[in-house]
């Protein structure tokens, strides 16, 4: 079969000072010299996108740069945008993504580019490093040939994250990261969970406190991209939600994220609907005037678009039944 692969080409050495070079934060859409080049390759209908790229690199254009090693979703090298979605080239079948035999691949606009399909993963690794991704073993460390005695279930619980291959697909398409480049992001927070819920770790409390800070677990907007994109079933959002629960249980509630969640829940409990007027002051703090002012343009835009919440907040009928639900669920909102 003939496939037509359109590749986004870029070479940092040709663009010494564009925003794409050392540029950080994103977005990098303004990359000055990205150009698209179409290659035709002859491959069977089981072929993966990576097979196509390797065929190009080996027999048509040796200058095409693409990272790959394992060819089977193990090494995490080959993350890229395929038709505008972050994906692994080595396990994406051409026939599943091609439209009329055509497919477009490029480095994702959320990451700096080095060359062609080779993204600069520095943001990814920096985030990883900042969650303290190593075990701080409980003392005393078992002596001699003794291991830490822990139930198998506690270890199996962590396999989901340990399956992460650091391909970065989740971060590439994460919506919070697109807005806030300092957001720790899905993979790093999943790793954070992996160590925070390891029964052998001695610093869980400190971890939960750290992860509750700005740019941490409360910065995620639940867009679900990471769950959708992850090739290994890591479901970073799930890990983030678990961390949130652990952090609230451990008493880390004095931050915008928790206050937002609490205000949200309180409003629903007491009136059966969201009181958007009080949500913001309650989230950022009633006397946090600068933060409330920062939200003013959004509020004005909402007003202009006719989306201003009603000044008088009405309860919905039957709100008692909702209160009962909260009682049943228990926790902080009884």
């Amino acid at each position: 079969m003939k496939w037509s692969i359109e590749v986004g080409r870029y070479d940092r050495s040709q663009n010494p000072s564009g925003p794409n070079v050392h540029g950080y934060p994103p977005p990098y859409e303004a990359a000055p010299a990205k150009r698209y080049q179409i290659f035709e390759v002859e491959l069977d209908d089981q072929a993966m996108v990576l097979d196509g790229l390797i065929a190009i690199r080996e027999y048509q254009d040796e200058s095409l740069a693409v990272r790959c090693a394992c060819r089977s979703a193990i090494c995490g090298s080959c993350g890229m945008w395929i038709n505008g979605k972050a994906n692994l080239a080595c396990t994406t079948k051409l026939r599943e993504v091609a439209q009329d035999g055509k497919v477009r691949v490029e480095s994702p606009p959320s990451m700096p580019v080095i060359r062609d399909l080779v993204s600069d993963m520095t943001p990814f690794w920096k985030k990883n490093l900042s969650v303290r991704p190593w075990l701080e073993g409980k003392k005393p460390v078992p002596q001699g040939l003794e291991e830490y005695r822990v139930p198998n279930a506690a270890m199996e619980n962590l396999i989901q994250e340990v399956s992460c291959i650091s391909c970065g697909l989740c971060l590439m398409d994460c919506e919070s990261f697109a807005i806030n480049p300092d957001f720790l992001g899905p993979a790093a927070l999943a790793k954070a969970y992996r160590y925070a819920d390891d029964p052998r770790d001695a610093t869980v409390k400190q971890r939960l406190g750290d992860y509750s800070q700005a740019n941490g677990i409360w910065e995620c907007t639940h867009c679900y991209m990471c769950v959708d994109r992850c090739p290994k079933g890591v479901a970073p959002l799930d890990q983030i939600l678990k961390l949130r629960r652990m952090a609230v249980d451990a008493g880390f509630t004095n931050n915008a994220g928790t206050r937002h969640a609490l205000a949200f829940a309180e409003s629903v409990r007491d009136s059966g609907r969201l009181n958007e007027l009080t949500l913001l002051p309650k989230s950022v703090g009633l006397f946090n005037i600068p933060a409330q002012l920062r939200a003013l343009p959004t509020a004005l835009n909402m007003l202009r678009a006719g989306k201003m919440p009603p000044i008088i907040h009405h309860k919905i009928p039957g709100v008692d039944r909702i209160k009962n639900i909260f009682k049943k669920v228990g926790g902080l909102f009884k």
Binding site: D11, R12, S13, Q14, Q46, R57, E58, Y59, D61, E62, S63, A65, V66, R67, C68, A69, C70, R71, S72, A73, I74, C75, G76, S77, T91, I114, R115, D116, V118, M121, W125, L129, P133, W134, L135, G137, V141, P142, L145, E146, E147, Y148, R149, V150, P151, N152, M155, E156, L158, I159, V162, S163, I165, S166, Y195, D198, R200
Partner: protein
């Protein structure tokens, strides 16, 4: 640029990171250099597990005996004793570092069965053991603050008066050549799987460090011992872990017969890898295969076992062949997997060259002899990675600071520049790589004979000549992979040549070396290692080293 460290480790797989950590613990200035980010290293692909005699009823002596028998008595028994007796401590240490090993009901480490082992002594994390270990060591490396030069590609060893004092690398990001000057270098660059096509190895396993050490004068040993894994996926050659058979999978021929009963009635599918690979090759050659393959049947294990213990191979078979192993058997064939040979070292990882150490798959201590047992290789990387880290950090304290190197770096820069400007003359690295791989698989595979090996030798020599005119089809400085592919091809050709010479030299059948013209093991003449030394423009010089026998005199090998 010239950068100074006490110890430079070439490679960031399990062996390299373990070596780096140990050297750092001993207070020396260490750096690790790797052509890919550490977690992309091939160690991450190891699925099945890691061996240690830690359980009740097991002992390091039994583990040692299994290893030695598996090696077809070519392993050095002192080295095997070191590895198996230190294994329990290394596994426990990994656990303390954070590896989420499978546990039994008491919360202690639990095991699974593996090929060639008389006890279930393989510790594991699902079927991502290598990945779990690699990430834990990477995390520990981050914690230790050891400097890692990521995506730096080694092009030459810096030699001073016959001693190794550094590595020259290309920084892929800038294209710049830098000398990492050091008092000792530990080569931990992994295997050379891509010399064969197909292979279970990643595209980055090209024997770089082996060739660099060889050219620098370090002897290579037992290079003819190339392991074919019995269960690699039809077509693509991906590995279907031995853990599948460890969990109870069958091997069937086209008649649905469990043919291993005719070859290894006791151990059946769990006989040693060389034995099973030969059996499959015979079944296929005698017309009882299907399309050049046999079948790996897991259906009777049930969905739960497959999905909980073997999810990764389930996914690979589904992705690449569209086969769901819960409902259908999977076609497999023997495929190149591992090299037992490599840079000769002692049990401290030291080569005969001062300042040069080696550990992991690129090294030959020798603990695997003629055939490696499953789950012994990860162990090898950790034990000898640690020991070489320790030994080198003691050694560097006896060496004065290295001052020179500018000229060497300049010469290396000129060499690479010349390579970059070589005009295109019709040869590409891709074509030569493919020809080399097919040749090696056809002539230096499971079964070998003199005529085929001579053909292979002539073929490799011819490829080496053609290699002299391969051009680099990319002129950019940044992330120039065409350049590194050309350099890798050079390393691969050196490794291939050594393998063929070794196979021609050893006139017997032992372990992975099965010669149809010398079908018997011949202890009287060949209970010895084949050692090769590089000679410029000539075939290597060949001599021999005796096999160290401590407690286990050679016996006949049956499974």
């Amino acid at each position: 640029m010239i950068l100074d460290h006490d110890v430079v480790v070439l490679g960031a797989g399990l062996a390299g990171m373990r070596a780096g950590l140990e050297a750092a613990r001993n207070g020396v200035n260490v750096a690790i250099v790797s052509k890919v980010h550490p977690v992309r290293s091939h160690s991450g692909a190891a699925q099945g597990g890691i061996n240690a005699a830690l359980g009740a009823g097991d002992s390091w002596e039994i583990h040692a005996f299994d290893t030695i028998k598996g090696s077809d008595y070519l392993a050095d028994q002192d080295a095997v004793e070191v590895m198996t007796s230190e294994a329990p401590q290394d596994i426990i240490e990994l656990e303390h570092m954070g590896v989420i090993f499978y546990r039994n009901d008491e919360g202690k480490l639990g095991t699974r069965a593996f090929g060639g082992a008389s006890k279930a002594r393989t510790y594991f994390v699902g079927d991502i053991t290598g990945q779990a270990l690699l990430y834990t060591l990477y995390d520990q490396t981050l914690k230790s603050g050891v400097k890692v030069y990521e995506e730096w590609f080694a092009t030459a060893l810096y030699m001073v008066d016959g001693a190794c004092r550094g590595v020259v690398c290309i920084d892929m990001m800038t294209g710049e050549l830098n000398l990492l000057r050091a008092k000792a270098v530990i080569i931990a660059s992994g295997g050379m799987g891509r010399v064969y096509e197909p292979s279970t190895n990643a595209l980055i396993c090209t024997g770089d460090g082996i060739a660099l050490a060889y050219r620098a004068g370090a002897p290579l040993m037992d290079m003819e011992m190339v392991q074919y894994h019995p269960t690699t996926l039809k077509g693509s050659g991906f590995l279907m872990t031995e853990a599948a058979r460890g969990e109870g999978a069958y091997l069937l021929n086209r008649d649905g017969e469990r043919f291993m009963q005719r070859y290894a009635p006791k151990m059946m599918e769990l006989a040693s890898r060389d034995v099973v690979s030969r059996a499959e090759t015979i079944e296929i050659a005698e017309g009882r295969g299907i399309d050049g393959n046999v079948l790996l049947d897991l259906r009777h294990l049930g969905r739960d076992v497959i999905m909980s213990k073997l999810p990764q191979i389930h996914e690979i078979a589904l992705d690449f062949l569209g086969i769901d192993m819960v409902t259908d058997p999977v076609p497999v064939r023997p495929g190149m997997h591992y090299i037992m040979g490599g840079v000769r070292t002692d049990t401290d990882g030291a080569t005969p060259i001062p300042g040069l150490y080696a550990a992991g798959e690129c090294a030959c201590v020798s603990v695997h002899g003629g055939n490696r047992l499953g789950a012994n290789s990860l162990l090898d990387t950790l034990v000898f990675g640690r020991r070489s880290g320790l030994a080198s950090s003691a050694y560097v304290k006896t060496v004065a600071a290295i001052a020179s190197g500018e000229e060497f770096l300049a010469a290396e820069q000129r060499r690479i520049a010349a390579l970059m400007t070589r005009p295109y003359a019709g040869e590409t690295h891709a074509r030569l790589r493919l020809e080399l791989g097919m040749l090696m698989d056809a002539k230096v595979g499971v079964y070998r004979d003199e005529a085929g090996l001579q053909e292979a030798l002539a073929g490799v020599e011819q490829l080496k000549r053609r290699y002299q005119s391969v051009a680099v089809g990319d002129k950019s400085r940044v992330y120039n992979q065409a350049l590194t592919f050309v350099l890798e091809l050079g390393y691969m050709l050196d490794c291939a040549e050594a393998t063929v010479h070794g196979a021609i030299t050893r006139k017997e059948s032992r372990g992975a070396q099965s010669r149809t013209d010398y079908p018997q093991r011949n202890d009287a003449d060949w209970l010895k290692h084949v050692v090769l030394r590089y000679q410029d423009g000539q075939p290597p010089s060949i001599d021999y080293l005796p096999v160290t026998i401590t407690k286990w005199p050679p016996q006949e090998r049956t499974y």
